[in-house]
């Protein structure tokens, strides 16, 4: 690995982190304005045109807010708990390919930060590290609401993690590889959703539970637990939890795209667009690579918007309903999917 390779890596990390961090204020705006339109209100529309500068105002307020560390909390763990949430949420994206290989100035650049051979395992492992942030925050706050929120949250996350892990075995049987980049390559002809619709459904629902979003946001059910595990947090510490949640949503949307919707494979219709623009002359041209990145971004944006849409459409589950859905519906469904996929592969229908 020479200096130029290292520079390329650094640029890729900068671009991806920049995109993730820029997604947060945009999503906050979309969430607030979108929820307002769904509920027939106007939403925040005073700061800037159409309220577009509202997230900037929010950030300024987050920075200048007082950030007290209460007397009763754990001195060391309380301030660093937000980092335990933010770091895993950010580094999952390292394994996700956001574009095809690109050839420029005689160099081949893979548009993926780390082409990990065990990509799926990495994603699952790092994804479950997010529990520590929640658990440490809840425990170190030394507050009844926080600790109850953290307990509920971790219990919910580990329950749905089984369904999540089991749902990925179906695609794994079909693709026969752990590497996310190879999985995207294998979806050139037909996207994974057509081979594994049930797995997609389970993965999609579990994704909501993993990111603690409505209808699975019991950890912070405000009617009963105030704000759940981050009750005692304020100012920038709260903002970091907030950022971690949104980055998590984007990451799960990107994983949905990668595993089931063809990743950076062009959306139907984009092929003719590439032909019209004259950039499809050879497979690794810059124009085609950018078009593939655009395809990936579009798909990911679509799933991210579904996350927001669902939040303002569905009511929250009761805790027993949540546990029932996870343990009695999703897990058996995932087992059925594994068995059915294996048998269908054996008799040669898949």
């Amino acid at each position: 690995m020479d200096f130029i390779d290292f520079t390329i890596l650094a640029i890729k990390i900068m671009v991806v982190m920049g995109a993730l961090l820029n997604a947060v204020p945009i999503l906050v705006w979309v969430e607030r304005r979108g929820s307002a339109f769904i509920q027939d209100r106007l939403g925040p529309n005073r700061v800037g045109p159409m309220g577009l500068l509202q997230p900037v105002a929010d950030v300024i307020k987050f920075i200048f807010k007082e950030d007290p560390i209460p007397c009763h909390v754990h001195r060391f763990l309380f301030p660093i708990a937000p980092l335990f949430s933010l770091i895993p949420a950010s580094i999952i994206f390292a394994a996700i390919p956001f574009g095809d290989t690109l050839e420029i100035w005689g160099r081949t650049i893979t548009l993926q930060i780390a082409d990990i051979h065990i990509g799926i395992l990495y994603v699952l492992a790092v994804g479950s590290l997010g529990i520590y942030g929640v658990l440490i925050a809840g425990w170190s706050s030394n507050n009844k609401y926080s600790i109850l929120g953290a307990l509920r949250s971790s219990s919910q996350m580990i329950s749905y993690e089984i369904a999540l892990g089991a749902s990925l075995i179906g695609p794994l049987l079909v693709y026969g590889t752990f590497s996310l980049n190879e999985i995207v390559h294998l979806q050139a002809q037909s996207w994974g959703i057509f081979l594994q619709p049930l797995a997609f459904l389970i993965f999609f629902v579990s994704g909501f539970a993993e990111s603690n979003r409505l209808p699975f946001d019991l950890p912070e059910g405000e009617a009963e637990l105030v704000a759940g595990f981050h009750t005692e947090y304020g100012s920038m510490k709260f903002a970091l939890f907030f950022m971690a949640e949104y980055i998590h949503i984007v990451t799960i949307a990107a994983l949905n795209t990668t595993l089931f919707w063809g990743g950076w494979q062009l959306i139907p219709g984009m092929v003719s667009l590439a032909n019209v623009l004259g950039i499809s002359t050879y497979p690794h041209s810059v124009g085609l690579a950018l078009l593939k990145v655009a395809a990936f971004t579009l798909k990911t944006t679509f799933f991210t918007l579904i996350f927001i849409w669902v939040r303002w459409t569905l009511p929250r589950f009761r805790y027993d309903q949540l546990m029932m859905l996870g343990w009695k519906i999703l897990i058996p469904a995932a087992f059925i999917n594994i068995g059915a996929t294996a048998v269908l592969l054996y008799i040669g229908w898949l």
Binding site: L83, I87, I158, S159, L173, T177, M236, P332, L345
Partner: protein
């Protein structure tokens, strides 16, 4: 397939770099906020938040045993599912050698399902 394999060390470096980037960003934001934020302490603000009422009792209360049960089920099932991963990886490449690989894992799954049904029957999955 135009597909360049990268060395594992590069991947490790990339992941570490990304983690460091995220960590530095978080620390920077916390630092900026701690430095620029208004500081005006008072004992009410620093007490436990319990909806404005004086806090009663300790937060280290006993909690429902169900959470513990869920954690144990998680351990069992998660490990069982991890066992399925290597099988799923080599399944397709080994299909031409006959159905043994399918049969073996079906036995494993059957045992798993029996255990699962037992937990269900005993009411371990009910949340009352």
């Amino acid at each position: 397939m135009p597909y360049k394999k990268t060395m594992p060390s590069e991947n490790v470096l990339a992941v570490i770099l990304m983690g460091v980037f995220a960590a530095l960003l978080g620390i920077l934001l916390l630092g900026v906020s701690a430095f620029l934020g208004r500081v005006k302490r008072n004992p009410e603000k620093l007490s436990v938040y319990e909806c404005g009422v004086d806090p009663t009792g300790s937060a280290r209360e006993r909690f429902s045993l169900k959470f513990y049960l869920i954690a144990i089920f998680f351990l069992v099932f998660d490990i069982e599912i991890i066992f399925l991963y290597p099988w799923a990886l080599i399944f397709r490449k080994n299909l031409e050698r006959g159905g043994l690989i399918l049969f073996e894992m079906m036995c494993f799954l059957a045992i798993l399902v029996v255990g699962y049904l037992y937990i269900w029957k005993k009411g371990g999955l009910d949340w009352k």
